[in-house]
């Protein structure tokens, strides 16, 4: 193969990777509502747990949020038709599915085994896992804003370890607000703008 052909192939490949990254960001933006959904679910679970101390408050809220998300994703796909699965999309899905499974396994296991004696450990574990998933996703998509979310989650995890129960709760609630609700709404606005632009260009 000559050098120019190789160069051309490399350029093609780079442009494909760039388009995949853009597509990955669009996909993440189109699922911005899931960030908001989970942010609200965390708030519901925290409030329910602190008001009634019901030991099943977290599992019930999380499983309900999971089912609700499944139904909404199914409806979304049914309405808009399934778009082709790209490498980038599969990468992002793999990261979030693995994180979800791990979170489900570890938090349930720690809870039901009676080893969850401290809210701070729960907050630290949850924040670390969500931070890790945001970091992996943002590095894949070269998205600084999402990486900032990862840093906020990691900071919240460290504060949870060193702070009091109140400080830990405040750090977790603040991280949830910034990285789930605010970031989720930002993604939804971005998606709506992109859709409006697509309609205008059509």
């Amino acid at each position: 193969m000559t050098t120019s052909v190789e160069e051309l192939e490399l350029k093609d490949r780079l442009s494909l990777i760039e388009s995949m990254i853009a597509e990955g960001r669009r996909t993440t933006a189109s699922y911005g509502w899931t960030f908001v959904l989970w942010g609200v679910a965390y708030y519901v679970a925290i409030i329910w747990n602190s008001m009634s101390s019901f030991y099943l408050a977290w599992p019930i809220t999380m499983v309900s949020a999971c089912v609700l998300m499944g139904v909404l994703v199914w409806r979304k796909r049914k309405n808009s038709g399934s778009s082709p699965v790209t490498t980038m999309r599969r990468a992002i899905w793999s990261i979030w599915i693995s994180m979800g499974l791990s979170m489900f396994v570890i938090l349930d296991a720690i809870g039901y085994s009676g080893r969850l004696t401290d809210w701070r450990i729960f907050a630290a574990v949850a924040a670390t896992l969500v931070g890790g998933a945001n970091a992996a996703s943002s590095l894949t998509l070269k998205w600084k804003l999402q990486f900032a979310c990862a840093i906020v989650w990691w900071t919240s995890a460290v504060i949870s370890c060193f702070g009091t129960n109140l400080q830990s709760s405040i750090a977790f609630l603040a991280a949830n607000f910034l990285c789930q609700i605010v970031f989720g709404i930002y993604l939804m606005i971005r998606e709506a703008c992109a859709r409006r632009q697509a309609v205008a260009h059509a």
Partner: protein
């Protein structure tokens, strides 16, 4: 664009994705020694802790393993004459493992220095995090062996929470053996076989 052109483009894209997946597996295999390396590092830290109960055994072993791993990677990269171009999948994989590394470096010292360290919680978190990374990489590369390691790590997460201290250690040692040593050696054999095949085709 005509239908046949679209079909051709789709076929090209699919074949590129397949190439990327194969390349991703190859890259993971090339890093197979890291699985073994960290498996051995975990064994040293466990053995050291069991032998003299020194609280900093884990910290010292991990802090020594990091620079050593870095030096080996650097010397390997230096020896490599031609640098292979990075693909979307390889970037996603490295992002996942980088995020895991940062998460671990943050959470474990934070838990340790804040006095929240508990052997069961520690093993559960390590196993859950390695479950995330192996699960995401395995799903992305469609690699059943790596998905199996993720399942073993998730099973270890649950087992670590419910058993006694000794059972927890046994579970951790077994999971390290299966998912780090055995999988690492398997990846190294896979890589060696591919290299031999390449040499015979050259």
């Amino acid at each position: 664009m005509t239908v046949s052109n679209e079909e051709l483009e789709l076929k090209d894209r699919l074949s590129l994705i397949e190439t990327m997946i194969a390349e991703g597996r190859r890259t993971t295999s090339r890093w197979g020694w890291i699985f073994v390396f960290w498996g051995v590092a975990y064994y040293i830290a466990i053995g050291w802790t069991v032998y003299n109960q020194w609280p900093f055994a884990w910290l010292v072993t991990m802090m020594s393993a990091w620079p050593l791993c870095g030096v080996i990677i650097w010397s390997k990269e230096k020896k490599q004459a031609v640098r292979r171009p990075g693909t979307t999948i390889s970037r996603a994989i490295s992002s996942i493992w980088f995020a895991l590394g940062v998460s671990m470096v943050l959470i474990f010292p934070a838990l340790g220095f804040s006095g929240h360290f508990n052997w069961h919680i520690f093993v559960a978190i390590v196993a859950a995090m390695l479950g995330v990374a192996n699960g995401a990489s395995g799903m992305l590369l469609r690699w059943k062996a790596q998905i199996a390691t993720a399942i073993v790590w998730w099973a270890a997460t649950v087992a670590a929470c419910f058993g006694s201290d000794n059972q927890c250690t046994v579970v951790f040692v077994a999971a390290i053996f299966l998912c780090q040593i055995v999988f690492g050696v398997y990846a190294m054999i896979f890589e060696a076989r591919l290299r031999r095949l390449e040499a015979s085709h050259a």
